[in-house]
């Protein structure tokens, strides 16, 4: 920790707080019926998105999952456009056409949340292939869950990534569950990173509640990819505090409350704040200010979203095809 610059540490902390605030407020709005559809919240897993994303440029890409808000917030997404999208407004990232599960920002290299579990890895290798083809040193970070690691798409993409030495990082967010099924009931292995060897890439297991451990492991993998040395598999052990969809998360059939409380003991934000305090980088007051600022920003985003118009019904039939004079042009 000592060799990580203070501004980076504060940046990671700030990203985590902004994610959590974004998510907690979104949860409330869903419960009050203001956000339609399904909302998969990232609370508890913030260290992963923040610790990885702090290494990335706008031109680096990520592929995300159904649980994608945290990734976009950490990648620098515009909270107003995000909330407007969750609310299905015309001012949203996707003009209200995508919603939570398809939130995206191609300008930030965020290639979309995705409603199909396991859809990200094939897309990620395509972006990484493109980075290499175009001669950039951009990288692609592919986020996916423990559940998704059982989809064949992951396997195909991992094999191709290692074969072509693509600048892609497989970021497995192992929160212990695929929906309501515990990891030991969906795979016979304990460390998903054990799969990496089968493709010929390094696989590393990291404490996903510890933002600094995430930061360091991701930094190495990303540097390796930028150097042209190929992909890495990073497994982050983390936990989702809330339910698979929505907020609840305790008093549920598929896990004990005590387990939730145990994980909350190692809350990534609290952990980070304790360390920052220890290092004299952030006082309790300073931390409170970060939280307040995040809340203010989120509230502003919500207000923007609520004040935004719904799309015109006629927008239904727009944006399906690119109609610009297509012929002849390179992209």
């Amino acid at each position: 920790m000592t060799d990580i610059a203070a501004d980076v540490l504060l940046d990671i902390h700030n990203r985590m707080v902004r994610i959590r605030t974004f998510e907690e407020e979104a949860g409330k709005l869903m419960e009050s019926g203001k956000i339609p559809g399904a909302l998969h919240l990232y609370v508890g897993e913030e260290a992963v998105a923040a610790g990885v994303m702090v290494h990335l440029r706008d031109s680096d890409q990520i592929t995300s999952t159904h649980r994608g808000h945290g990734h976009l917030v950490a990648k620098g997404g515009d909270l107003q456009k995000m909330y407007a999208e969750l609310f299905g407004r015309a001012t949203g990232y996707c003009k209200g056409k995508g919603g939570s599960m398809h939130i995206s920002d191609l300008d930030l290299g965020m290639l979309g949340a995705n409603g199909i579990v396991g859809a990200g890895p094939p897309i990620a290798i395509g972006a990484a292939f493109s980075n290499k083809y175009r001669g950039t040193d951009d990288v692609t970070c592919c986020f996916f869950g423990d559940g998704a690691s059982n989809e064949g798409t992951f396997h195909e993409a991992a094999n191709m990534a290692a074969l072509y030495k693509l600048p892609v990082i497989f970021v497995c967010e192992n929160n212990g569950f695929g929906e309501f099924t515990r990891q030991e009931r969906h795979q016979a292995i304990h460390d998903i990173a054990d799969r990496a060897a089968g493709y010929g890439m390094p696989g590393i297991v990291v404490d996903g509640m510890d933002a600094l451990a995430v930061y360091e492991s991701a930094g190495e993998a990303i540097a390796r990819a930028r150097r042209g040395d190929g992909p890495t598999f990073l497994e982050y052990k983390t936990y989702r505090y809330f339910d698979h969809v929505g907020v609840r998360g305790m008093g549920v059939i598929y896990r004990e409350d005590s387990e939730v409380l145990e994980w909350r003991q190692r809350d990534p934000i609290a952990l980070m704040e304790a360390r920052l305090a220890e290092q004299g980088l952030l006082s309790a007051d300073g931390a409170a200010q970060v939280h307040e600022a995040a809340l203010a920003e989120v509230r502003e985003a919500i207000a923007f979203a609520e004040a935004s118009p719904f799309p015109e019904p006629s927008a239904l039939m727009e944006d399906i095809y690119t109609t610009a004079a297509g012929a002849g042009g390179a992209a």
């Binding site: 339609p36 559809g37 209200g96 056409k97 409603g115 579990v117 064949g152 099924t181 019904p313």
Partner: protein
Amino acid sequence: MTTMEAPATREIPYVSAVAEAFAQLMREDPTIFIAGEDVALYGSVFGVSRGLLNEFGPQRVVDTPIAESGIMGLGLGAAATGLRPIIDIMFMDFMGVCMDEVVNQIAKMKYMFGGKAKLPLTIHTMAGAGTSMAAQHSQSLEAWFCHVPGLKVVMPSGPYEAKGLMVAAVRDDNPVIVVNTKTILGMKAHVPEELYEIPLGKAHVIREGTNFTIVATGRMVSESLKAAELLSADGLDVEVVDPRTLQPFDTETVVASVRKTHRALIAHEAVRFGGIGAEFAAQIQEEAFDYLDAPVGRVGAPFTPVPFSPVLEKEYMPTADKIAAEVRRILGKQV
């Protein structure tokens, strides 16, 4: 909404009709098991398998990893070796990740093997928009499967149909895909307590009428009944036919209706272009050409992915009003 055919019935919702069918079938036949994502401990995200784990245990009610090709193959291999699997694919959109198993393996194995295989396999899934789940959780893709020889496709329109068709599907010795519509899971109707079959391949004239035939699938059946009410105000006496099974399609019943009414429209929730309504319309004009007083109309979703925003999704969804409007348009068109 449906005729009572058995003495002991209760009003229960669609979802309970399905769950009851599963439980009763499993009691009757020990070779039946159900497998899918979160069907056991959680009882399925739609609730269709709630209670089964308790009664039948984890060997027969099987939570799977998120791996639809694996799950579908599990069903196929088990069916080919003497079991009678029910495979749950949570959302019909997810058929994309296991199309090969369904279309190239399950549908064709019997034929490729010269008839030797018997595949008593039921695939259970949820289709339809209207819940702000956006483009990847809202599709109605039944037309794909109706185009594939070797498969049967069923689409219940209400609780009574849901139970009776499920029983017939599971007992059938062929692969059958049961396509439920998620927005009618809460719909209630009288459903017999005991096991009963609604025969596959038989359409049902759910409302008799004399001067217009609406052929509707799934949720569009209830919408069409509403449309018929709206149109009766115009003095139109609309017949509504529910094919129930889309593959094999009961051409006979549908064509008989159109020969009587001289006008027809197909309504489904799927995208109109290339939807199963095209096949129905093509068949109707082939078989009842000389009886038709107007072109066969079609109501379906417009040619776009399903949008998220409720405002757009409302615009997207076929409804009773849109069906009635299209009927009026067709009639206005008659020369």
